[in-house]
Symmetry: C2
Subunit: 292 residues, 2 copies
């Protein structure tokens, strides 16, 4: 059993990005620049954005945080986005989700210039993903694909079972794993809340990708000997064993499942760290104008 | 066994569209108007566009065919598209594919105003499909969904196996059958050229959608008793039995498979007629500004 060490791989990728930025600077180019928009002052959103800002610093990117009042009109937010869209110094633009109820996330996301949509949430980027054209792939699926590549996990002809049909993980992963080429060429079954005999599906998987948000849902009896297990779940659970009083749980019962697998992601330290690094990768691509 | 009679259903839908157009006219509204662009003089393209023009006439739409010389520069084609984009009388715009090799289909499709993209090929419409937002669904998948709805075929929790991962059939069908709601909520397995044990997958299907382009590939032994079989294939084969000297074959060996199924589409007269009607449906939606 090999642990898919997202922490290690993401550090390596950060170093590679840092080197790329150094090269850009040496050749007189502009420092890559990511702008993050926060609406309101949600604690979790603040934490996520702080992590992204820190990651930018680590790889030598410039970052800007733009704050919009929680009660601000949607129009105000859209104007801010237009401003950033028009600012030639900024390469990537993300709007931290969720947004307050009076604002339409769809409208906001479609307003982001597709060339700067490094979260890969704009329908054009999503559409290009489905039809196999170059575009920004959203961070979590991108991170999973990078992990698979780094460990050279075989995917062609494998049966990949995905649990969860969310827009940000399940659906794009189904697209990526079934597309032509590597990683891809898997036979993909997309499972969800209406799927019958979910446990049987899990047991059939050569590659099992779990993104349900149900702590420790997948048990040893649901996994085939030698399977690859990728756990996208993160649930905060109370714990008496940690000083903080809580711990992070994945969707997979790691201790009992891990021994049966060929490869498995831990939680934390698996998919999580890969996600933020993928945002950096997209921002670098935007700065280099690799896609648009 | 019930035959999914695309010919009959498409006629009914055409009558409904005709009534809608009459209502629009009576209330003083503008006649829906579809423009089709043909580049060069490919025989098959001419035939397809002629069918679409005829269908427009049947339902009371106005139609315009715009011809561009085969050797014309891509720029010329893009200018034509811009013209039609800007023409307020035209609701829907399709460019007949394939295009000559010196023209980028992707560039041409992205140039079509998304509001007029009634073929549903623009990445924004494809992306909206994947994330479950309203948009134009391309004609063949849309037609299949309409057939399923008309016959009230149960899809929730069913195992839907799709053979073929094309951009115009396999991938969008996988998205539609796995999405929330009806028709949808199926557990979808997307199979393709790299899939192992393809016959086993077929035998597991409650709903089998075949879009491979391999004449009579699916035989009776590959289909579960009581399955729903939807055949998207059309291959022209020589025949001594017909006056024309050829006949149309589907991807399914109809005569031997049909008796085992609960529902099956014939070829011709199944999915085919539904496709053109879906283009009309999209054009009506464009005229009514239902989506954008």
């Amino acid at each position: 059993m090999i642990i898919l060490d997202g922490k290690k791989i993401s550090s390596q990728i950060k170093e590679e990005i840092y080197s790329s930025v150094e090269k850009i600077k040496i050749s007189g180019g502009k420092q890559p620049h990511l702008a993050a928009v926060i609406v309101g002052s949600d604690g979790a959103s603040e934490t996520y954005v702080a992590h992204k800002v820190k990651a930018c610093e680590q790889v030598g990117f410039k970052s800007t945080v733009v704050r919009v009042n929680e009660n601000a009109d949607q129009k105000v937010l859209l104007e801010k986005i237009d401003e950033i869209n028009d600012n030639n110094d900024i390469d990537g633009l993300i709007v931290q989700l969720p947004l307050p109820g009076h604002i339409s996330e769809d409208t906001v996301i479609e307003r982001i210039k597709v060339e700067k949509d490094v979260d890969g949430f704009h329908p054009i980027n999503v559409g290009r993903l489905l039809i196999g054209q170059p575009g920004y792939v959203s961070a979590t699926p991108y991170g999973i694909i990078e992990l698979i590549k780094h460990y050279e996990i075989e995917t062609s002809g494998k049966h990949c079972v995905i649990l969860g049909r969310s827009n940000i993980v399940g659906k794009p992963m189904a697209v990526l794993m079934s597309r032509k080429g590597y990683p891809g060429d898997s036979t993909v079954t997309l499972c969800h809340s209406r799927t019958k005999n979910l446990e049987d599906w899990c047991r059939q998987a050569d590659i099992l990708i779990v993104a349900m948000g149900k702590a420790e849902f997948v048990t040893a009896g649901m996994v085939k000997e030698g399977a690859v297990v990728i756990d996208v779940g993160i649930t905060r659970a109370p714990s008496e064993k940690t000083r903080s009083g809580w711990k992070l749980l994945g969707d997979v019962k790691y201790d009992e499942v891990a021994p049966k697998t060929s490869y498995i992601t831990p939680v934390p330290g698996g998919v999580g760290p890969m996600t933020i690094v993928s945002l950096l990768n997209n921002t670098l691509k935007a700065a280099k104008k690799e896609i648009y």
